[in-house]
């Protein structure tokens, strides 16, 4: 979903490594160690070194696209992602202008606000929390039809089930697999919870944490 320009340096770095490795393997004529990767074997992961952008410009995704992405990732109907008081669409009506939309006909807002307002991150959290809570409750209430939080063994109380769920959330919400550290961190959130119903609570919170990262809200 994100354009390549989001990760220009990283993509360029990975592509160059892949290209060089391929050339080496094809020609068996690699040059000196100074110029080429030392081990031109199979490349399974891009390099992890990240270079800060020299032109760090990002744009807010906006409430409408955010809600569409939530619906797709969490397998919800767009209309049920977030309804305030059960009837007012969050991103289409209530928080529309706050989340970067326009309201020309009723509000006279013809252009998106030039900067995010103080309430914008709160509204975004609210939208994500609504969608994540709905998804988790559905999956826990009807495990046979679960879409994201699929019970296996001890449900989300098992590390394995949580690991699978985290991978699903990352792939659905961010269109990538999590790094091992990210996976561990989100799976480990469970251990910070105390009290009852930890699995269901973890499901909502892990979904919320990933869905409201800046990576999910900006491009």
């Amino acid at each position: 979903m994100f354009p390549e320009s989001v990760f220009p340096e990283t993509v360029e770095h990975a592509s160059r490594a892949l290209l060089l490795a391929s050339l080496c393997m094809a020609s068996f004529a690699c040059g000196s160690d100074d110029e080429l990767p030392p081990q031109p074997g199979p490349v399974t992961q891009p390099p992890t070194q990240t270079v800060a952008s020299r032109n760090p410009v990002v744009k807010f995704k906006g409430g409408a696209a955010f809600a569409e992405d939530l619906a797709r990732a969490l397998r919800l109907d767009r209309e049920e992602v977030c309804l305030e008081l059960g009837q007012y669409d969050c991103t289409g009506e209530v928080h529309r202008v706050t989340l970067g939309g326009v309201d020309p006909y009723e509000g006279g807002v013809y252009e998106p606000l030039p900067r995010a307002t103080i309430t914008a991150p709160i509204a975004l959290d609210r939208v994500a929390l609504s969608a994540c809570s709905l998804r988790a409750d559905r999956d826990f209430d009807d495990p046979a039809a679960a879409a994201v939080f699929i019970a296996s063994g001890g449900g989300q109380d098992s590390v394995e089930a949580r690991t699978i769920a985290v991978d699903r959330l990352y792939q659905g919400l961010l269109l990538r697999i999590p790094t091992a550290d990210e996976r561990d961190a989100v799976v480990g959130l469970y251990d910070a919870l105390s009290g009852d119903d930890r699995g269901r609570r973890w499901a909502k919170l892990s979904c919320f944490a990933i869905a409201t990262t800046t990576e999910a809200a900006f491009y």
Partner: protein, 492 residues
Amino acid sequence: MKLARRRLLQTLGATAATGLALGSDRAQLQAQEPASDGPYFLIVLGGTGGANIVDSLLAIRQSECTNPASVYCFPDQVVSDIAGTDFRAIDVGFGSLGAIPMSFQANQSAFVTKHGADLMAVTHTGTSVNHAVAQRRAVTGNEAWLGRTLQEVVAATYGESFALPNVHLNAEFGFAERGLDETLPAYAFGETVANPILWPLALDPRKGVVGAPSADDLQLARALRNDVLDPNSQFGKVFAQAERLKQWRHQRGAPQAGVEAQNLIDKLLLIEDQALLAQYGLEQADDIAAVRQAFPDLESDPLDAQAALAFLLLKNQVSCTVTLGPSFQATVDDASSVDIRNPPIAFDFSHQDHPSTQAFMWQRLFRIADGLATLLKDVPFGAGSMWDRTMIYFATEFGRTRTKPGLNATSFGSGHELNNGSVIMSPLVQGGRARGGVDLATGFTYGFDRQTGDPVPGTTMTEADIYAGILGALKVDTAGSGLPDVPCMRKS
């Protein structure tokens, strides 16, 4: 960035505690007595489309007008002198509002009599007859002080401890534009509210959300996101210095904690259906009965809704300045096909019919100002009330042309005119006084002596004069600004 589980838990716990403490500090600050002499509160009530001062407090009679057949003036019998003030008021009925077949009675004298001691009229001549440009100049004094708007100056001066110091309740117009001075603190810039009835739902991340986790659980998830996932992701690292992300991260810190700590969602909700709110664990604002009495049309008239929320924002000291005003959009009462609440293009409907539009719209602004002042007088503040510290500035774009097609003409259009004046309503100004006057031969206003307030025919005041006078009355320190001193506008 590998984090051991124990380390992660420690991070989450520490961050959650920090976040909660931030909110507590902010709430504590909010509850303190205001520092020094502040705060003072500014309400900008926009006269969208051109509120013409000679259609209200500075009206002139036919009998005193040198050229009553061609200069805009009123039949003597509809003009009242308001005792104890320099003001006049127009009480007149119309059989239609322009081409709109609805009769109405405009009565200014009740309002001017009730609030005359707090009213001041100041004359000025603007620099643009473009709606958006003129609106902006009405709140920046034509960029008189580094392009700062009046609202931004007031918010920067008094708003540090407020959750949302500067709120714009009508996003459509230039009265709510952002100023130019980016050196002001971030909290000074306006928060835009597009829908006053539903917007308070954006003040809490979880209350009213079906199935939402507890606040403590949410705090843990936010800590994971803010302190672990975001800064360590490739996206976060590559774009760590992006301005938008830096602003977003800032807003997720103390400003957000300040808003959420006050449970504003239950203090500001105007939704009428209590049963519906209760179903979602929400409550109406405490003052809803009084607010509805003052602004009974808040469900059907956006201006009433803006005013209702404006009062609650001030009363709960969420904001120290609010901006509201009629929209350019027509508002029609659903119950009647001809009952117009707001004519198309507001005051600018004067193009079609000046006398009825001005009368209708002034009545509309006066009703809102009366409601706000009445409510604020009932809110204790120190030894007095909040009203003692509040100013309503009837900001306007420009005046209207002063010609009319014949002595007895009662229905005709007008154009945009730089010459005008503004109404200011506050116990902080020289109440009951008009600063400047009206030339009886032309209908145009003339200026006044900044020190004494004495009228000075042949002169005009600038947008910067009014801007400076307003800030002076609100006790804002303008030293070094280069603004003129206008002591005649403030109460000594």
